[in-house]
């Protein structure tokens, strides 16, 4: 799972050195280049590229004004706002608590540490529908946690707050698993040097540790965000799904499909895809900027 950390890092245009671009592939004694690359590209085209191109063509059938009126309708805008807004908020919350959790797991020893460490991956392994019904049961007014919140006047299940809970659940491991290896690899000497030079604990944390883990934090944030924007299974059970209140964009796509409005569904899907690619691209740039900043480049 840790390798999924590189995903956000690879989003963006591929970098090909100018000198090599026209030379083609380097000679090699290993056989199978043609067939493996051919199979890879064909399979990629069949499963990923052609279906995605089909989606864009479908939405293009609409013409600009129809497309625009669908994606700027009140219901669509609200669904997009819910999906992107709450995904962003959930990613921020995961960034904060994820850092606390990584810190506890990487630096302290306490009973059950290894078990908790293994449990971090539950949201990766537990099917979203299972997480959905289970979180709903927990946070419903008669549920174990929901019951405690009723006296405080807080309703979680069947409100936007419930969506937030589900998105926090599915995003947490992305932050923890991305930051954890970086914090574990952090050299003791760096902190020692800072301490010898008279830095306080807080100064060491904010001036030495945070800059080193910042690129990983941003990657984890991006991954958690990207996953949360498109999340469907764990959300629809707890959301309540009221149009203009707690309806997420993926659900609106499903509703349009069930009404056989294929073009409407694809217009919303295209906007979702484009928005998340733009955001991931921005985060990728930020990450490169924070990376060059510490390496002094």
């Amino acid at each position: 799972m840790t390798s999924s950390a590189d995903i956000a890092g690879t989003i963006g245009p591929g970098r090909v050195s100018g000198a090599r671009r026209f030379k083609g592939r380097q000679p090699s004694v290993i056989p199978g280049f043609g067939i493996t690359l051919g199979l890879t590209l064909s399979w990629l085209a069949l499963i990923v590229l052609i279906p995605l191109i089909g989606l864009f063509l479908k939405s293009a059938e609409l013409g600009f004004s129809d497309f625009w009126s669908i994606v700027t309708s009140r219901r669509t805008l609200h669904a997009l706002q819910i999906s992107f807004g709450l995904a962003l908020l959930a990613a921020v919350i995961n960034l904060v608590f994820g850092t606390v959790i990584v810190w506890a797991l990487a630096r302290y020893d306490f009973p059950g540490r290894r078990i908790f460490d293994a449990l971090i991956d539950i949201p990766f392994a537990l099917p979203t529908a299972v997480a959905g019904i289970s979180l709903t049961t927990l946070f419903a007014e008669n549920g174990w946690i929901g019951r405690l919140l009723v006296p405080l006047g807080i309703k979680v299940a069947f409100t936007p707050l419930g969506i937030l809970v589900a998105l926090i659940f599915i995003g947490l491991p992305f932050v923890v698993r991305t930051v954890q290896p970086v914090l574990l690899d952090l050299e003791v000497e760096l902190e020692e040097a800072a301490a010898t030079l008279g830095a306080t604990r807080w100064q060491i944390f904010s001036k030495v540790i945070v800059p080193v883990i910042l690129p990983a934090l941003l990657t984890g944030f991006a991954l958690a965000f990207a996953r949360a924007v498109g999340e469907y299974g764990s959300v629809i059970f707890i959301a309540g799904n009221l149009p203009n209140v707690s309806e997420i964009a993926p659900l609106l796509i499903v509703i349009r499909l069930s009404e056989f409005k294929y073009t409407d569904a694809s217009a919303i899907a295209v906007v979702m895809l484009l928005l998340s690619f733009v955001l991931l691209f921005v985060i990728n740039r930020l990450q490169q900027w924070s990376g060059t900043r510490i390496s002094g480049g």
């Binding site: 290993i30 302290y108 299972v130 498109g230």
Partner: protein
């Protein structure tokens, strides 16, 4: 501290002490951080898992077993196993082939290719289902042709498999590419120069080198394939006993207020998730020591 003082010379002790001081936080901070971390993890990860089993057995063992042996449940389990077997095998072969092409050769556009392979990670599952409805659905690009030739893809097994393959597309390749890149090409070059054929080299040299990463990728791919909900939900049509996978069956039972049955089926998937986590932890521990 006193133990250190007995065994180490004075200047080492001083350095160690400053090192430990620089890395260890005051007890109050330490306990606060541990408390917050454990509270958050218990609330968001442990309790949801516990609730599944508590709810599943809330009326005792007999209703639980009754729900699991219901014909619709058995049909859902069968379909889930078939879908996972096909899509994991397809992605296993693809992952190996793609990793071979990407890590054993240098060619232009390689990093762009890796980006494209990762693309399905940032696509909503619902969109992963939608794209196949647009291609093969009744009103889709190939809809008329398929109806005329009586071929069913959407609302049938092929559609469910296609959606699952798209969602789990990067899993195996993602695990293999970094490892095979790190291992380089010397082993393969040596085998070839000693007269091994390409396939012999692959099966006797490359495959043994990456077997644990491959297993790891397959494990994660399988967990996602069996649990996929959004993409499959769009293409399945929810036909009971026919096109319902386990996650879809859970949704139907839950919406019909058959809570014990819903959580009973959910508990099977939760158990699968736990098994996946345990194997993953063991694999990581084993490969770290190997």
């Amino acid at each position: 501290m006193t133990v250190l003082a007995e065994v180490a010379p004075a200047h080492t002790v001083a350095r160690r002490a400053s090192a430990i001081r620089s890395r260890s936080d005051p007890p109050l901070v330490r306990w606060a951080i541990i408390a917050v971390a454990l509270l958050f993890l218990s609330l968001f990860l442990v309790l949801p898992l516990v609730v599944v089993f508590v709810q599943a057995f809330s009326h005792g063992v007999l209703p639980y077993l009754g729900a699991l042996t219901h014909p619709d449940t058995i049909a859902a389990v069968r379909l889930t196993l078939i879908v996972a077997a096909i899509s994991v095998s397809l992605n296993l072969v693809f992952g190996l082939v793609a990793a071979w092409a990407i890590t054993k050769f240098e060619f232009p556009g390689k990093s762009f290719l890796i980006t494209l392979i990762d693309l399905p990670f940032s696509i909503s599952p619902v969109i992963s289902g939608l794209v196949f409805v647009l291609l093969f659905g009744a009103q889709g690009y190939f809809g008329e042709y398929l109806i005329a030739h009586d071929i069913r893809i959407i609302f049938a097994l092929p559609g469910i498999v296609l959606a699952t393959v798209l969602v789990t597309f990067p899993f195996v390749a993602r695990e293999l590419i970094p490892l095979m890149k790190e291992q380089g090409t010397q082993d393969e070059e040596a085998a070839i120069s000693l007269g091994a054929s390409g396939l012999q080299t692959f099966f006797r040299v490359t495959l043994p080198n990456v077997k644990w990463a491959l297993l790891y990728g397959v494990l994660l791919c399988n967990a996602r394939a069996m649990g996929e909900f959004g993409a499959v939900s769009v293409v399945s049509g929810h036909i009971r006993g026919e096109t319902n996978t386990m996650p879809l069956h859970i949704e139907i039972l839950y919406n019909e207020y058959q809570l014990v049955a819903a959580f009973a089926v959910a508990s099977v998937l939760a158990l699968l998730a736990l098994l996946t986590l345990i194997s993953k932890t063991l694999l990581e521990r084993y490969t770290r020591h190997a």
